[in-house]
């Protein structure tokens, strides 16, 4: 790609996205984009934990739940507390990050696969706790009638468009933050730990603090997405945060390319599109064509599973890979192409 296009690409994309609600008057399309936006935010956060720092977090939906419930409890009739939406955009990520530290501090010493299982346990405990503490959370019914956000005295109303713009701004900020983090001292420390923890420790990196910061930052993205998602849906209930949500976000990362910001955005957009557009649409098409028993939405889990299995087997670095990540995957699996290349480089250097 010529450098001019490379620079201009994001700007053009941004302009199109800003103009989109004016071009397409179909509210359901904007609604879909807003929901996809929430998942892009989630994926960007999980990418910090899994993609940059290499820590497999299988309970990521828990922080999404914590963000959503923070808004539901601090901005509704539930306790008569009404913290403004805009303030909650700061408070909820902080709360989520605190829980991230709380979970991470005792567990980050564990080996990678154990950490994955512990985070999975955490991901089960959090929604279960919200379900069980029904005197505060209304149990399975959840909390509804949340405060409506408003800007300069104009309430958001039931249109998805204001949320779309809020998410657009948040994603832009998130992209900027993720890119700067990646190139920062902290980002390089994450990648060093991911590639070789022992070596990183010996280079003087404080491994525990560095991992904790990845956990906390990742959690804060999830908390942020939780607030907007809860406000938009006007309802929070425990069944929105099941294990499948964590796996969905992980599939987005694996599909797009762990560690590559644009890959992650593309992966989450594509999977959101398939999930809430392609599957339901093709189901209604099938019904119209006379296949009344065919329901493609029943194959969702199979789709996530197949993405995880096939990508890991045949293209673990994702569709839009991060160069470093790709090298790590192929080096370890003894890829003949890479070995040949290294051999050639070695011989070149020796000669």
């Amino acid at each position: 790609m010529p450098p001019v296009l490379r620079r201009a690409g994001p700007f053009v994309l941004g302009l199109v996205l800003v103009a989109y609600p004016f071009l397409d008057r179909n509210n359901s399309h904007v609604d879909f984009l807003a929901n996809a936006g929430a998942f892009i935010l989630l994926a960007l956060g999980l990418n910090i934990v899994v993609g940059f720092a290499g820590l497999l977090d299988l309970g990521y939906a828990a922080f999404f739940a914590i963000g959503s419930y923070s808004y539901a409890m601090l901005a509704s009739q539930q306790f008569g507390v009404h913290v403004p939406f805009w303030l909650m955009l700061i408070v909820a990520p902080v709360i989520a990050a605190l829980f991230g530290v709380l979970l991470g501090a005792p567990t980050l010493r564990l080996r990678g696969d154990y950490l994955a299982i512990v985070t999975l346990g955490f991901g089960e405990i959090v929604p279960q706790t919200f379900l069980n503490l029904s005197q505060y959370t209304n149990g399975p019914n959840g909390i509804s009638s949340l405060d409506q956000p408003s800007l300069f005295g104009h309430p958001f109303g039931f249109s998805a468009t204001p949320y779309y713009y809020v998410l657009l701004v948040l994603i832009a900020l998130g992209l900027l933050a993720a890119r700067n983090l990646q190139n920062s001292r902290l980002g390089r420390a994450w990648m060093a730990i991911r590639e070789d923890e022992l070596a990183a420790r010996h280079m003087g990196i404080n491994v525990t603090a560095t991992k904790l910061s990845a956990f906390a930052l990742g959690a804060s993205f999830s908390g942020l997405a939780g607030v907007v998602y809860a406000a938009k849906l006007d309802l929070v209930s425990p069944d929105q945060f099941q294990f499948s949500v964590s796996v969905l976000v992980l599939s987005m990362l694996v599909l797009g390319g762990m560690g590559n910001i644009w890959g992650v955005v593309a992966g989450s957009f594509v999977l959101s599109f398939v999930n809430s557009f392609l599957l339901p649409q093709s189901t209604s098409l099938a019904h119209a064509a006379g296949f009344a028993n065919l329901d493609f939405t029943n194959y969702r889990f199979m789709l996530y599973g197949a993405i995880l299995v096939l990508m890991m087997l045949f293209r673990p670095e994702g569709l839009i890979p991060s160069r470093q990540r790709a090298a790590e995957f192929h080096e370890a699996s003894g890829d003949p192409r890479l070995e040949a290349q290294e051999q050639a480089e070695y011989e070149g250097a020796a000669g």
Partner: protein
């Protein structure tokens, strides 16, 4: 006090099922250091296979006498075989290629396999719970105020018998020796002429077959199942394997019974009871991993560099 002993009996029979599942986790982890996330779903598959076999045999209620022995034997062997083959197939298709990949790659694949299996079972038997016929007559008898049912006795006996057979196989046979050697040092074992691929496949066969047996037992014990059963049971069994010391077969049995007991006693004595049992079990997992990651019977090994 009677209530306490009642919960001990309940816990032991629950624990028998967890122990059977935990064995599969621990054997696979011992040999290729993979948390086989799909194992819990292979267990559920065992219940569904048993159900299909019983339907094929035309059994829909209690069976007595010689016929009972025959029906149980056919069903359990059939479920074990089918699950064992499923396990071997999963290893061949999804894990073997990634044996030398970064550790998290096969774990992610395993999660994918788990989701695929769950979806297949959901499509096969629907999203709602499926009833399982009461095959075994279930008289209960009281021992000093504690009710013990025939099913509970059967569950515990069956679990213990399976474990004893496994222990004998691992310690007394050539194949068992090959498995232990491969777990200890794969490269050295290969140099000694052990066929690594066959040995690992055998591990999956046995582990998954035990999950199949557990699947039959749980169908009989609970009288119902559904496609998502294996997620929770799998996590609890994994906790059991870690508690006992992952990679350690005796530890998995001990851990299984302990988790069963913890669950039964927590259900009885924690206010609010049943709805907190999962929280209790996962807290046990976290605490064990933090304070004694090698488990009760495991040795702590230095991480391979």
């Amino acid at each position: 006090m009677d209530v306490f002993f009642q919960q001990i009996v309940n816990g032991l029979s629950l624990g028998g099922i967890y122990a059977l599942i935990a064995l599969g986790y621990t054997m696979v982890y011992g040999i290729i250091e993979l948390i086989n996330f799909a194992h819990g779903d292979v267990y559920t598959l065992g219940t569904f296979f048993s159900l299909a076999i019983l339907t094929a045999l035309g059994v829909s209620g209690e069976v007595h006498g010689v016929a009972l022995v025959g029906v149980v034997a056919v069903t359990i062997v059939g479920a074990m075989l089918l699950c064992g083959l499923t396990g071997v197939l999963i290893e061949r298709l999804a894990y073997r290629r990634l044996r030398n990949a970064p550790r998290l790659a096969p774990l992610i694949t395993a999660i994918g396999v788990s989701f695929i299996l769950e979806n297949v079972m959901q499509l096969w038997r629907g999203p709602s719970p499926v009833p399982f016929p009461d095959v075994i007559p279930n008289p209960s008898f009281a021992i000093g105020g504690v009710d013990v049912s025939a099913k509970q006795v059967a569950v515990i006996l069956l679990a213990v018998a399976m474990m004893a057979a496994l222990q004998l196989f691992i310690t007394r046979t050539r194949l068992g020796k090959a498995m232990r050697a491969t777990a200890q040092d794969r490269d050295a074992a290969q140099l000694m002429g052990i066929d690594i691929n066959t040995t690992i496949a055998l591990t999956f066969l046995i582990g998954s077959a035990l999950a199949g047996a557990a699947g039959f037992v749980s169908g009989v014990y609970y009288g119902t199942t559904w496609f998502y059963n294996g997620f929770e049971a799998g996590l609890k069994a994994f906790t059991a394997a870690v508690l006992g010391g992952i990679g350690n077969v005796t530890g998995a049995m001990l851990g299984g019974f302990l988790i069963g007991l913890i669950e039964a006693i927590a259900t009885q004595y924690i206010p609010g009871g049943a709805q907190w049992t999962n929280v209790v079990v996962f807290s046990v997992l976290v605490l064990v991993l933090i304070f004694r990651p090698s488990g009760l019977l495991g040795e702590s090994l230095p991480e391979k560099v």
